[in-house]
């Protein structure tokens, strides 16, 4: 099943750029929430923005959906500048915000009708659209219930449905699975994949690397307002080799043990080690064979009497890529 979905992804994707973000900066006083982000999203693509909280993902989406004006940079959505033609951009995008942006005292139908009317959808078509979307997100039976009585997952699914009301060319989802039960999370994934198969271009932000790996054709890893890597998930993972080893270097008193240039050079020279980075009391090794490399590293630590406070062998995945690039975990 997944195979056929992926094949369809490939088939539906074109070379036409739907989104172009060029050198985007967004500053709040001295805080640089976004600090020079650039990327393009092709038609039919599911593009992921992966990064920890505060990396600048939501701010980027806020600019793309015309909610916030950029400090510097150009953002074009379906050929329209978000600053010069915001009203046109609003008509081609759908947004699923991180907040549950619904009226809790209204039921699903009332929420959908109200937001749908703002897009001037003719009454009959709106009713049909509402019925289709409720079916898509599995809330048809719960439609007459007040939203305040929904579970967190149901609210998230309705949040998604509202974002799809206007039949957008381009859908932005900002952390749409935060606080969601596994069943609802799975349902949201299926919804996104189905919509993408039908040709919808998607920008998906998350700090869950599994989600990015599963859903996205390409991923931009962002940290501190910048894109630090951008490629397909597989290419990013392949760039790691076969494994990442993290070793904490602190002595018995809990103080950082100094690792000199000579020690770093010797570690770098080990046959199974591709790169080694020393950052914040931690050595991160990118290896071609994690098991063999580990034996060589331990031998060298023993020989030089270097204390080892912690040891971790990481599977090659996007989390490891992030750690390799930043020395931090996505959910630190």
């Amino acid at each position: 099943m997944m195979m056929s979905v992926e094949m369809n992804h490939e088939q539906s994707r074109g070379e036409k750029s739907v989104i172009r973000v060029d050198n985007l900066h967004k500053h709040y006083g001295d805080v640089h929430a976004v600090d020079g982000i650039s990327f393009e999203i092709q038609q039919g693509e599911v593009f992921g923005l992966l990064g920890p909280n505060g990396a600048g993902k939501s701010t980027t989406i806020n600019v793309l959906c015309t909610y916030t004006e950029p400090t510097v940079g150009e953002v074009v959505v379906a050929g329209h500048s978000v600053t010069a033609e915001p009203e046109t951009v609003k008509r081609v995008i759908g947004v699923v915000p991180q907040d549950i942006a619904l009226y809790p005292s209204l039921n699903a139908l009332e929420n959908l009708r109200f937001f749908g009317r703002l897009y001037e959808i003719p009454r009959a078509r709106l009713e049909q659209r509402i019925a289709d979307l409720l079916h898509l997100v599995g809330l048809t039976e719960h439609a007459p219930k007040r939203v305040e009585h929904y579970s967190g997952g149901m609210k998230r699914r309705l949040n998604l449905a509202v974002g799809l009301l206007s039949e957008p060319l381009f859908l932005m989802l900002d952390e749409p699975t935060v606080g969601v039960d596994p069943q609802s999370r799975h349902a949201i994934f299926e919804n996104i994949q189905t919509l993408n198969q039908q040709g919808l271009t998607v920008l998906y932000t998350t700090h869950y690397m599994e989600e990015a790996e599963l859903l996205c054709h390409r991923v931009a890893i962002v940290d501190e307002g910048r894109v630090i890597a951008l490629d397909t998930p597989q290419n990013l993972i392949n760039s790691l080799g076969t494994g990442i080893i993290r070793i904490g270097v602190r002595d018995e008193a809990g103080k950082e043990h100094p690792v000199g240039d000579e020690m770093l050079a010797r570690l770098q020279a080990l046959p199974q080690v591709r790169t080694v980075v020393h950052r914040d009391e931690t050595l991160v090794f990118e290896t071609t064979d994690a098991q063999r490399a580990l034996l060589q590293i331990i031998a060298l630590f023993n020989e030089t009497d270097t204390p080892m406070a912690s040891l971790e062998i990481l599977e090659p995945n996007l989390e490891s890529v992030f750690i390799q690039l930043t020395g931090k975990r996505l959910r630190d």
Binding site: K26, C65, P97, D99, L102, Y103, L106, F115, L118
Partner: protein
């Protein structure tokens, strides 16, 4: 324009679905007005006359004592109760069960008949508010009896002077003169006739003060609370969702304000209907004036709401601040007590509040029977007040971050 209407209708739908809002908007104001009307005004708007119960101890039992009891019994607003024990009468007063008691002492009639001085004893509690009223009533009786006695003395003296006879039936003359004079006590030949001219006297109907006062105060609570709802929407994220929908900002904010305005007007009208039905409140003779004062009041309140939301920007702060603004301006603006009862300085300060102008308009129409021409200034000031708050609020209102 259609989208403005959609936003307004959605606001009204949200209000209808909010059970607490229904309590706040309808039940609480009506309940408070009902209680206020009962406490300060009484039902039906009419002020029933107070009847004073007066225990009387007749230790005399004579002819004049009977006249005293008859006269007092016929006095309006006085209910004479015969008590046989003076001690019991004193206890009734000292226990606060009666505001006063009268003792007709033994020998009272004989003293009057023989031309000697005599006194009725009125027992009252110190500081009693009805004591002066009772005293006036009893003094009326003693004054009449003094006149009777004087009349008898003058009659005998004149007969003596005219006849120079010493062999006359003085007791008979005195008795007949006394009987005639006492009769006149029941049917006095000289009366005070009260003639009323012009329109009827304007009695301060408390309900006509309470109903508009509470209506304005609770309308402010409703409208300003709804304005605070914009901050709630900002926190919830629905305001952001509206901003990224293809809807002009003026439609978005205008729709919300129109809904608040309509609700405010509806609430004041509901309070007036309630006032008329339950307290027989007189709404005056200018329905147009009443409508325009109400519209101007709600416009000013709605605009004040947008100004407060623009300045405060935090939902946690807005509720205590709006409560302070509403209660403070209601207290000094005349929503609780008529403005003219307040110190002059406070009356001047009150002019800064929209409540003062609204209440002045309502008082002129509902209590003083004014016309539309009498409330133009109030309508004008309220409209200007609203315009200033609206434009300053709109200028400061932060639609989106950054």
């Amino acid at each position: 324009m259609k989208k403005l209407l959609y936003v307004a209708l959605n606001e009204l739908l949200l209000l209808r679905k909010d059970r607490m809002a229904a309590i706040w908007m309808v039940i609480l104001p009506l309940g408070m007005t009902f209680i206020g009307g009962l406490v300060f005004g009484g039902l039906g708007g009419g002020s029933e006359a107070v009847v004073i119960d007066l225990p009387v101890v007749d230790q005399d039992g004579g002819e004049i004592a009977t006249v005293v009891l008859d006269v007092l019994s016929q006095t309006e607003n006085l209910n004479v109760e015969t008590v046989f024990d003076e001690e019991m009468a004193r206890e009734l007063v000292s226990d606060g069960k009666r505001t006063g008691a009268l003792v007709i002492p033994s020998g009272f009639s004989a003293a009057i008949m023989s031309g000697q001085s005599a006194a009725l004893e009125l027992i009252v509690a110190p500081g009693g508010q009805t004591a002066p009223l009772l005293e006036g009533m009893v003094r009326g009786v003693t004054s009449a009896l003094s006149n009777v006695q004087t009349t008898v003395e003058v009659a005998i003296s004149e007969v003596q002077r005219a006849t120079s006879s010493t062999d006359l039936d003085y007791a008979g003359i005195a008795g007949r003169a006394m009987a005639t004079a006492l009769e006149r006590l029941h049917d006095p030949p000289v009366r005070a006739q009260v003639t009323t001219v012009g329109s009827s006297e304007k009695e301060l109907d408390v309900s006509s003060q309470i109903v508009p006062g509470y209506a304005v105060m609770f309308a402010m609570f409703t409208v300003l609370s709804a304005a605070g709802g914009i901050l709630e929407e900002k926190e919830r994220g629905t305001f952001k969702r509206l901003l990224i929908a293809p809807i002009p900002r003026w439609s978005l904010l205008g729709g919300k304000l129109i809904a608040q305005f309509v609700v405010g007007v509806g609430q004041i009208m509901l309070m007036f209907i309630f006032g008329v039905l339950v307290f027989d409140v007189n709404l005056g003779s200018s329905p147009l004036g009443l409508l325009l004062v109400t519209l101007a009041t709600c416009w000013a309140t709605t605009s004040l709401g947008i100004l407060l939301v623009a300045v405060i920007r935090s939902r946690k702060q807005i509720h205590p601040i709006t409560t302070l603004v509403i209660l403070g301006s209601s207290a000094i603006g005349g929503a609780w007590f008529p403005l003219f009862l307040m110190p002059k300085l406070l009356q001047q300060v009150a002019r800064l509040t929209l409540v003062a102008w609204a209440m002045e308009g309502y008082n002129r129409l509902m209590i003083l029977g004014g016309s539309l021409a009498d409330v133009w200034v109030d309508i004008g000031v309220l409209t200007l007040y609203g315009a200033i708050c609206f434009f300053v609020g709109l200028r400061l209102f932060q639609f989106k971050e950054g």
